[in-house]
Symmetry: C2
Subunit: 149 residues, 2 copies
DNA sequence: ATAATAACAGTAATTATTATCAATTTTTAT
DNA sequence: ATAAAAATTGATAATAATTACTGTTATTAT
């Protein structure tokens, strides 16, 4: 694999991702990089994200919300996708290669790895949901009180 | 969830998927259903695939090759994605909900499930690869022989 | 049988992403 | 330091997958 020629834009994209713990999409990255490089084009962002992912310097995450997300941290870990706010968060679990073994026993072919995403409700949405339930049941209590009165 | 009004097109799509073990994309499904319904439109295929998936009558698979695949079998099992021929095959492994438990211990939020895809080289591509290697080394032997002669 | 409405075909619009290309930036060789 | 070579860029066009819109047709309930 041939070395890449340096570019300020690519460096900025890499630094930007390294400084975040969320997992922005290409257009989010674009809108932020634009603050430092007002003339950068979206194509440049896409091209560099692909190059960096290809070389394993960042991770490309396809979690099924049909927009790729990118992760500046390449240490092995998994991801969680919130079905309410669509956010992607890290889940610090070591690589479970035992999963590959289980699959190998059932499959005729070469299993090289797996992609695993968890889904559900993130902490923030969970808290918000509970608050809404509370205020909803309070409303109901008031309604009942009015009817009874 | 309201009941759906019957439609021959939707029935045909469901039957088509039930009869296959591969996991076709919307446009593949479209091209086949067209043999029986020459006037069906691609939008109808997409709409019905979404409806059926929403109701759990089929599965929508997003395996990162940016075209959704569909599976007529909803019994719990996993999938394998061949990075060579991009085919998606079934992997009859029971649902490993132990994975969710491991994740729950490391995550503040509600984990409802996971999506897990295996990747590597499928049986067919693996065989083909070996054949090519063989014929390649034979070619080399011949070349060496010519040079030595 | 008829009215209400869900689903349809056809088509336009949207969204994410990739490709093209002349101009610029970075690297290499002098 | 300078010029030639090569990679990268910005701008824009093109593609691919999917969704939205609209007038017509099929299904269901009365």
């Amino acid at each position: 694999m041939k070395a890449l020629k340096y570019s300020r834009q690519r460096e900025a994209i890499k630094d930007f991702l390294a400084a975040r713990t969320d997992h922005p999409t290409a257009d989010i990255i674009y809108s932020h990089i634009r603050e430092d490089f007002p003339n950068i084009s979206l194509g440049t962002v896409y091209r560099n994200l692909s190059l960096l992912a290809e070389r394993g310097e960042i991770l490309k995450l396809s979690c099924g919300d049909n927009a790729d997300h990118f992760d500046g941290c390449t240490a092995p870990h998994y991801h969680f996708f919130c079905r309410k706010c669509q956010s992607v968060s890290d889940l610090e679990l070591p690589d479970m290669d035992i999963i590959n073994l289980a699959a190998s026993r059932k499959f005729c072919g070469k299993i090289e790895g797996h992609t695993l995403y968890f889904y559900g409700i993130c902490k923030a949405c969970n808290t918000r949901e509970k608050l809404e339930e509370e205020s909803f049941s309070q409303t109901n209590e008031n309604e009942n009180f009015s009817q009874n009165a």
